[in-house]
Symmetry: D3
Subunit: 151 residues, 6 copies
């Protein structure tokens, strides 16, 4: 017997508006994450890659994480790794405050919309909100996913 099926393979019918999850102190963003994100994306903007540039030529206190890195990490943690779902799009993605190396992220999600999409899939919208170790919101997003309907 497996506890896998019940956990990460939920059909559209099993999801409910209002259900939520919070992931406290889930991940500290480090300089290594910024280097690796630059390496995958190709984005070596000095606001992320140069301490001198960030301190001297921006309004920030030093180099900051790429906004999309925060988005990627939030989605990875907050989206249930539901085997019946895949990503459709994002809306109202906002990088509310800078994330510095050493900051620890606590993402939350809430299912806020749900409707039938076609014969095979339903569409659900999750709201994500990520706070740092001081309780400040650093990131918000609305993530739309398509989820298999029960056969």
């Amino acid at each position: 017997m497996s506890d896998n099926s019940s956990r990460s393979a939920r059909y559209f019918e099993e999801l409910e508006v209002g259900e939520s999850a919070a992931f406290e102190n889930a991940r500290t963003i480090t300089g290594a994450d910024i280097a690796n994100f630059a390496g995958v994306s190709g984005d070596f903007h000095p606001i992320h890659m140069s301490s001198e540039f960030a301190r001297e030529e921006t309004q920030f206190d030093g180099r900051i994480a790429h906004g999309q890195l925060i988005s990627d990490v939030t989605e990875s943690i907050a989206a249930d790794e539901n085997r019946h779902a895949f990503s459709y799009g994002h809306d109202e993605t906002r990088f509310v405050k800078p994330v510095y190396p050493g900051d620890t992220l606590s993402p939350r999600r809430e299912l806020v919309e749900k409707e039938v999409y076609d014969e095979d899939y339903g569409r659900v919208v999750y709201e994500y909100e990520t706070t740092n170790q001081d309780g400040e919101v650093v990131f918000v997003d609305r993530h739309t996913m398509l989820v298999k309907r029960r056969p």
Copy 2:
């Protein structure tokens, strides 16, 4: 004398609605990119990481790239690496078609909105559209950036 300053450090006043750029055959997405994106984000969903799962349990022809990987790569290529700009947010991000390992991306951008944000910054919106090697649109996005006003 340097040709650097003129190229990648443009003030808000130098940007114009309607300006655009196209980057033909800029990057082929490979299995290595998918592995590295999973490693940075932590998203090991089998739709991206398991050939067997993707073929047998999804409507796709095999494992597909993470949508956010396409978003990250598009932004890295299409966003001018303007030293006077930083990312504010995204809207209407859509993963229009799946991207498979071996597909080659051609991103375009167009500056579609521009307005003063505050004393120091202007706000601009770029529309991104990424096509694959068959000319099919696989990704669209609206990217908002803040850009320094000329001192």
Copy 3:
């Protein structure tokens, strides 16, 4: 309300001998995984890194994944990411059959031993067994973890 706490934070008292989980077609091992494992560990043995060497000088059909990569991936998938547990050791780790780039792994776990360790922790042993896409066992291991007792 959160479904997080109930899922990945289980005390010693909540775990039972005989409980099991199976993760079908969880991950395809690729050349990128082998490259990245070599990069982390420093193990560039040509049996993993050279197609020519592997074909000509070993009994295998080409280069094979590092055994420890299979061990690491199995543990990552099969070990519940229980916030109350940490790793103590491994026994009887065996690389039963070679894993080639392109093979897809299906790990299973079963909790086979459980006993009080000290005032604060219990000790549990999981048996792992990983099969490839042909149903052949490629890896077995006994993983001992310490798990917090309920306060």
Copy 4:
């Protein structure tokens, strides 16, 4: 003439019980190593990835390296990269003490067992012991390898 053949291609008959090697101050484990190990294995447990979690919810002084990372690095350094050998399994692997980012590892090996396995291979067992910069043992393991017999 090459000094390669004599160094890293030794047949079973050339190995002797009791031979040993020590690798002083061979490698410092850093936050980048932990990030990269998480990225390869998929293990993002907050004991490794979240400073806040590790300090507040565990008995450790901050986030610790994955045990398997120490195992992988030890094997990479301590196992002679013998072109005639490949890995068979591990026993009695123990993570004796936590390894923190910044700790420097000194692995040792000793060949403790040797016997004919079949017509083509011999079986040898290495004992590994890894100490940190304070001389404390942090890791022990018994690594079994198969080594080609002289043709």
Copy 5:
């Protein structure tokens, strides 16, 4: 209309001896960069990978970046990503001073030689000079590239 063609696709005829570019505070070299370079190249020499070794057994103040990493980063920044050019070779590459984790690099280039190579290509030589945040030269190189002649 695209501003791409004019920027990163210049024919041999468009390049001039004496043209130069400077990239101030372009990139901070970090421990993550050193780890990733070791992972790609396979070079885990303890002068780069072990703090204890570097402090105790070398004349340096701690571990230093691989010279080739500085070379790779300099070339990546200083070489115009000209779609009509590819790399032919390097000369007089010198690692003038050590680069430590945390140092920020400012590369410059100057085109110092230009001549027809054959019917299809011209040959150009760039001189690179990279300084650290204290204005000290840490790296020099002469990079020869072949560039397409205008059809």
Copy 6:
């Protein structure tokens, strides 16, 4: 007793002009290596990263490895990881033929020059020559190192 000291810690006095080593079929260059090199260096030139670009707009048969990747891998394999040596510079580095994903490299080195540098160090020059699986030379280089004199 250790066989480490005798192997990878040789003083200047122990090195001889004419000594050489060959590393047959040491490493296959893969798409993952190219992705990871791009990620470290920041060099995403489409000749390396885009199959479509490389086939359609260059004289090559598809995307090719970065020259510096071949240089880095050659040095990592061919340079004895001598704990008493560090890198001084390179000369006459030439990318003689393109290296494609799937090509297997066999580097050789020969010590061709040796002279006292100062009171503490000697200077030695290695010639590197790397061939592919068809026996064609793809890379040559002269690598100068400083090596500690015997105390």
